[in-house]
Amino acid sequence: MIEWLHPALVLLIGALPLAWFKGRIRRIWQVTLPLIVLALIATLDSGLQINATIMSFDLSPLRVDATSLVFAYVIGIVLVIANVYSLHVDDPAQHVSAMFYGAAALGVVFAGDLITLYVFWEIMLIASVWLIWRRCNAVAYQAGMRYLIVHGLGGMLLFAGVIAYYLATGSVAFNQIDVEGAAFWLILVAFLINAAVPPFHAWLPDAYPEATVTGTIFLSALTTKTAVYTLLRGYPGTDLLIWLGVVMALYGVVYAVLVNDIRRLLAYHIISQVGYMVAGVGMGTALALSGVAAHAFTHILYKALLLMGAGAVLHMTGKSKLSELGGLYRYMPITFVLYMIGALSISAFPLFSGFVSKTMIVEAAAVDYRAGVFLLLTLASCGTFLHTGLKLPYFTFLGKDSGHRPQESPLNMRIAMGIAALLCFLIGIFPNALYALLPYSVDYHAYTAGHLLKEMQLLLFTGLGFFLLLKHLDGENKISLDVDWFYRVPGRHAVVGLRDWITTLDQAFRTTFMTALERAQAAATEFRLSGWPMRSWPTGAMAMWTAVVLALLLVFGLGP
């Protein structure tokens, strides 16, 4: 019986009591529920598929295989970590929506058909936007609204794509999308929007840094990585994705130089890291695809850790701009050290998790002799270390003293960061445990002398470059425009202009109509007051009109 329990359904139903539970009971249930779900995922056997036929559609709401399991495990783990991190938050709306969001993400990775996928895709959106809105300020509300609109559009494209796919193939099964024409492109663009592939990426660095401190952890883990999963399933070996991925990896790096907000910097590095995964999907070899799954797994954990560190700084100081931070390591040493474990992981330092996964994707480019891809992905990885591993911690925790004297972050935050850091470290030391979960068995060894030598040179000399350019790297109190500018400025002006034009037109029409009405009213009054309708009538005219009426009655009413 247990194998019939869909983890997403358990999480959806289990989340509801969080709306009422208070205090200790709420805290206990908030951690127990994702643990139950994680245990449930562990009981699912690869190969299990539950089918159902609804309105002549063959649905499979639960399809378990190695690919879905590796994503489900890490979603389960990050749900536990992020809930521990948000234990101190007393806001039922956030807890319920976070659980719904997690449930929908699990629903997506277990969906064996496009209809189930679409339904969970939309639940993910509706649940996740509350993690932005519950920051409860005007900026977050507007960013959330833009997030909702962009993803709403993406959802519509997916819906249209699913219909087109059904019309073209007669099936809604979710496997490789190998159909020509509209279905291919509609579904692809919908997936690319959620994966934050430029130019469809601007929602991510726009909204994530405005979300609540704890909500960002869920956001960073779920939306882009479920999109990577769907790309991995639907579009492996699509050449276009290789270069889109490379562009993404570099795009995030360029913006990370420019931005001042630490959570926005990390958000741009989500784009950069997902770029490796998108490129890996495009390469489509067994090594590349396994690298994608491995990198998604490690990325979810270290990015959660990094954002938890940045979130702890924001929570304790109320500041998140590099130009307003500095010298915090004395006051938040544990947060600093745990953050650095995440930073060394994302930078692919040996012994940390990123090293065993990112190098798989780069290696996959090398074994296929893709020189350009190899060099550009390596370039992006230097940028990752430069910003996440050096610039952000240097100007936040070291560097000049900003005058903040915060306490260390709350215990639950430190525990959550500690769990994530431990996992980053364990995966780095025992990569074979992760490799055993991967969809394709690959003979890959991260820890060869050649890899270690190259990686350490690359990283340490990037560090040298950082200290040489240190003066120019502090955060500047500016914002950097991104493609969201198009809908935030010209788009806004166009809509406001259209609104004003319609208002003017509407007012002109009303004024004209009212003037005409007033004129008619005046004429009627004048007509009445003139006494003309009440004047005395001549008898001859009366007799004639009576005769006319009688004649008409005879013709139309009383005739034979």
Partner: protein
Amino acid sequence: MSLGRLLEWLVEQKRWMTWVTLVVMALLVLLDVLKTPDYERFAWDSIGGFAAFYGLFSCILIVVISKAIGYLILYRKPDYYTRHGERSDD
């Protein structure tokens, strides 16, 4: 606070640690020059110390290009979007 003390002590050893790191970096390059390369997939695989050069080059390239793009096109004042009709928190 012992972890904080330890970190403070490490920061005080900055100069010493910098030298150790620089020596390690020199040794890594030397080792790479002397070692027979593992791969011959790309032309640069056989150049000793290429990764070191590429790391430094990447770092400088990224900073120079990004800052140039920032100053030429992308940088705006923090209240840019507020001036274009969005509400701020204040």
